[in-house]
C-alpha cells in the first residue's frame, strides 16, 4: 500500500522532470543546454524503468544513453556549432501546425487508451531481471542479438567512412 503510494509519488516526480526537460530539449535556443536537459530526461526515464522493475534496462539506459549517446551529441555540438551564437531561432515555421498536430495526437491517443481493452495480467515479473535477460538474449533472442551487432558494425563503418576527412 505504502510502496504503491511511494512509487506513485516517484512516478509523478519523474514524469514531471521528464516532461519538462523534454520540452526544454525541443524548445531551448541553446543546443548545448538542450543536450544537458536530454541527459536529465533520459536519466529520469531510467528511473521510470526502475519503477517498472526493469533494473537491467535502467542500467543499460544510463550506460548507453547518458554515457554514450549524449556525450556523442555534445561532442558533435561542439564540433559543429559555435556556442557564442545563441540568438539564432531554434524552431522553424512548422511550430504552430506542429503544436496543433501533436496536441491532436496526444488527445486522441490518451483518449483512446482509456477506451481500449487491455488484457492486464496480474502476475509478477521473473525474479532476477538481469540474469533472465542475459539468458534470453543468449537463447531465444540470440539471432536479433547477433544481428544488432552487425547493425552496430555497419553503423560504425558508416560513421567512420562519413566522418573521415578525405585527403585530396
Amino acid at each position: 500500500m505504502f510502496g504503491v503510494e511511494v512509487s506513485q509519488l516517484f512516478f509523478y516526480l519523474l514524469s514531471f522532470i521528464i516532461i519538462v526537460s523534454a520540452i526544454y530539449v525541443v524548445s531551448l535556443r541553446n543546443i548545448f543546454h538542450c543536450a544537458l536537459f536530454l541527459v536529465l530526461c533520459l536519466f529520469s526515464v531510467a528511473g521510470i524503468y526502475i519503477l517498472l522493475e526493469a533494473e537491467f534496462l535502467a542500467a543499460v539506459q544510463v550506460l548507453i544513453y547518458v554515457g554514450a549517446v549524449s556525450i556523442l551529441m555534445i561532442f558533435a555540438i561542439m564540433l559543429t556549432s559555435r556556442l557564442a551564437n545563441k540568438k539564432i531561432m531554434q524552431s522553424n515555421d512548422n511550430v504552430t501546425v506542429a503544436i496543433f498536430v501533436c496536441a491532436g495526437f496526444l488527445l486522441t491517443s490518451l483518449g483512446s487508451f482509456g477506451y481500449t481493452v487491455w488484457k492486464v495480467v496480474d502476475s509478477p515479473l521473473p525474479e532476477n531481471n538481469t540474469l533472465t535477460i542475459g539468458k534470453l538474449l543468449m537463447t531465444d533472442y540470440v539471432l536479433p542479438f547477433e544481428v544488432v551487432s552487425i547493425v552496430l558494425l555497419a553503423a560504425m563503418i558508416g560513421a567512420i567512412v562519413l566522418a573521415r576527412r578525405e585527403k585530396i
Binding site: 491517443s109 552487425i150 567512412v161
Partner: protein, 490 residues
C-alpha cells in the same frame, strides 16, 4: 524456450554474406584500394554464391520462430540479392572514380543492407523484424550520403536518416502497442491473441487503430506510399544512382515483406467482415490510389530522370499495394511477382541512368536527346525497361500489372483497379517522353558510351528478365504463388 533449436544451417546464406562483406572490406583495404574492379566483382561473386547457398539451405524454422526460412522469404531474398547484384554491377563506373577511397565500405555496406533485408524477410517476430529493418536502412543512410563532398548526396543522406529514424520511431510506437495488446512479439501469436481478445471482449477499442495507423505510417515511409513519399524524390535524386536503384527496389521489397508479414500475417483478422471497422485495407487502398495519382502526375513534369523514376516508383508502389489490399493468395503472389518484375525493369532503368550519368555527368532527361543514334543498344534497353514499367506486353511489367489488377478485381476493388489503369495511361506519357527524347529527337551523335562489362551484364540480365519472364512468367508466378500460400489466404 525449452525446445530450442539452433538450426544454423538455415542462416548459412546470411552468415556467408555477412562474412563476405567483411572479406570485401578487408580485401579492399589490404589491396590498398588500388584495383577498382576486382572489389566489385568480388561482391558480385559473393551475391551469386549466396543465391546458390539460398537454394540449398532453406525450408524450416529456427531460433524460436524468429527465423523462418520459408518460401516467401526465399522469394524475396532472391529479389534482394538480385537488386544488390544489379546495383553493384552498375556501380563500377563510380567505384573507379567518385568513391575510390571507400570502395570496400561501399560494397560492404550494400552487402550489410542486403543481409538485413534477408533477415527481415525471414523474421516472423517483431523484434527480429525491427532489427532486420534497421540493418537494412542504417547502411543505406550511409550509402545515400556517400558522395561526401556533394551537397545533394549529403542532403539525401540527412533527409533519409531523419525520415528513416522518425518512421522507425513511429513504427516502433505502433509495434509497442501491438505488443501491449497481446503480450507477445511473435506474429503468429499476435494473430491468435488478438482474435482471442476480440472474441472475449467483443471489441478492442481505438488503441488498436492507433497501433495500426502508426505501423502503416512507419512502413509506408519505407515504401514511399503517398503521403509518406515526399522524402523519396529528394533522396533518390541526391543519392548515388546505384544506391537509388537499390533503395527503390531492395529497400522497397523489404518494406513489402515487412508489410506482408505484419498485416497479412499478423493482422489478417481485421480483413474479416466481423472486424471491419478496424480494417486496415481501406486505408492502404486509399493510400495506394493517392500514390498512383500523385506519383504519376508529378512525374509528368520532371526533368531529371532520377526524380522522374522516383515519382514513377512511388506510383509503382501504388500498383503493388493493390495486390496487397486484395489480401488473397493471388494478391500476395501478385505483389511478389510485381516486385520481381519491377526488379528487372527498375534496376535496369537506373543502370542506364547510371551509365549515362557516369559518361556525361548529367541526369536530365533532355540530355538523352538522340541517344538512340549514339548508343542504340543502351537506348533500346532503356526503352524496353520503360515500356515494361508502363506495362506493355509482352514485357514483364505487363504480366505483373495484369496479375495485380486481377487480384484487385477479384477482391472487388474495381475503383482502385480502374484508377490504376487510368493512371498507367498517364504514366505512359512520361515514360514515352524519355523514349521520344532518345529516339525521335536529334542530338549529338558523336557521344561514345563504353559500357563496363559488369554494367553490360546488368543490362543483359534486366532485358532478359523483362522479356523472358514477360513472355513466360509461369515459373516465377508459381514461385510467388507458393510463397503466398504461406499465409493460407483464400
Amino acid at each position: 524456450m525449452e525446445t530450442f533449436d539452433y538450426n544454423l544451417k538455415l542462416i548459412i546464406p546470411e552468415m556467408f554474406l555477412f562474412v563476405w562483406a567483411l572479406v570485401v572490406i578487408v580485401f579492399d583495404i589490404s589491396s590498398k584500394r588500388r584495383n577498382s574492379d576486382s572489389v566489385g566483382y568480388l561482391t558480385m561473386a559473393g551475391l551469386a554464391i549466396t543465391a546458390v547457398l539460398l537454394y540449398n539451405f532453406h525450408g524450416g524454422i529456427s531460433f524460436n520462430n524468429m527465423f523462418s526460412s520459408d518460401i516467401l522469404a526465399l522469394f524475396f531474398k532472391v529479389i534482394f540479392l538480385g537488386s544488390a547484384f544489379m546495383a553493384v554491377g552498375s556501380s563500377f563506373g563510380l567505384a573507379s572514380d567518385k568513391i575510390k577511397n571507400h570502395r570496400g565500405e561501399y560494397y560492404g555496406l550494400i552487402l550489410f543492407s542486403t543481409v538485413g533485408m534477408m533477415f527481415l524477410s525471414s523474421s516472423n517476430e517483431l523484434i527480429s523484424l525491427y532489427v532486420g529493418l534497421e540493418l537494412t536502412t542504417i547502411p543505406l543512410f550511409v550509402l545515400a550520403a556517400f558522395y561526401k563532398d556533394k551537397k545533394t548526396s549529403v542532403e539525401a543522406g540527412m533527409k533519409y536518416l531523419i525520415v528513416g529514424a522518425f518512421s522507425s520511431a513511429v513504427l516502433l510506437y505502433g509495434l509497442s502497442l501491438l505488443y501491449g495488446f497481446t503480450g507477445t512479439t511473435d506474429l503468429t501469436m499476435i494473430k491468435i491473441n488478438l482474435s482471442l481478445l476480440f472474441l472475449s471482449a467483443g471489441k478492442i477499442g481505438p488503441g488498436l487503430i492507433l497501433a495500426i495507423v502508426m505501423i502503416i505510417a512507419g512502413i509506408s515511409f519505407k515504401l514511399a506510399l503517398v503521403p509518406f513519399h515526399m522524402w523519396a524524390p529528394d533522396v533518390y535524386q541526391g543519392a548515388p544512382t546505384p544506391i537509388t536503384a537499390f533503395l527503390s527496389v531492395g529497400s522497397k521489397a523489404a518494406g513489402v515483406v515487412a508489410f506482408a508479414r505484419i498485416f497479412v500475417h499478423g493482422l489478417i483478422a481485421f480483413v474479416d467482415p466481423v472486424m471491419k471497422p478496424l480494417d486496415w485495407g481501406i486505408i492502404v487502398a486509399v493510400m495506394a490510389a493517392a500514390a498512383m495519382v500523385v506519383g504519376n502526375i508529378t512525374a509528368l513534369r520532371q526533368h531529371n530522370i532520377k526524380r522522374m523514376l522516383a515519382y514513377s516508383s512511388i506510383a509503382q508502389v501504388g500498383y503493388l499495394m493493390i495486390g496487397m489490399v486484395a489480401v488473397s493468395e493471388l494478391g500476395i503472389a501478385s505483389v511478389g511477382f510485381y516486385m520481381f518484375m519491377y526488379l528487372f525493369a527498375n534496376m535496369g532503368a537506373f543502370a542506364v541512368a547510371t551509365i549515362f550519368e557516369d559518361k556525361t555527368g548529367s541526369s536530365s532527361i533532355s540530355s538523352y536527346k538522340g541517344l538512340s543514334k549514339s548508343a542504340p543498344a543502351l537506348s533500346a534497353c532503356m526503352a524496353i525497361f520503360l515500356l515494361s514499367l508502363t506495362g506493355i506486353p509482352p514485357l514483364g511489367g505487363f504480366a505483373a500489372k495484369y496479375i495485380v489488377f486481377a487480384a484487385g478485381i477479384q477482391a472487388g476493388y474495381y475503383w482502385l483497379v480502374i484508377l490504376g489503369l487510368l493512371t498507367s495511361v498517364v504514366a505512359l506519357y512520361y515514360y514515352a517522353n524519355v523514349i521520344k527524347t532518345m529516339y525521335f529527337s536529334d542530338g549529338n551523335s558523336d557521344l561514345k558510351i563504353n559500357i563496363h562489362p559488369a554494367a553490360r551484364l546488368v543490362l543483359v540480365i534486366g532485358v532478359i528478365g523483362v522479356i523472358i519472364f514477360g513472355i513466360y512468367p509461369e515459373p516465377i508466378l508459381n514461385f510467388a504463388m507458393e510463397s503466398a500460400a504461406l499465409f493460407a489466404l483464400p
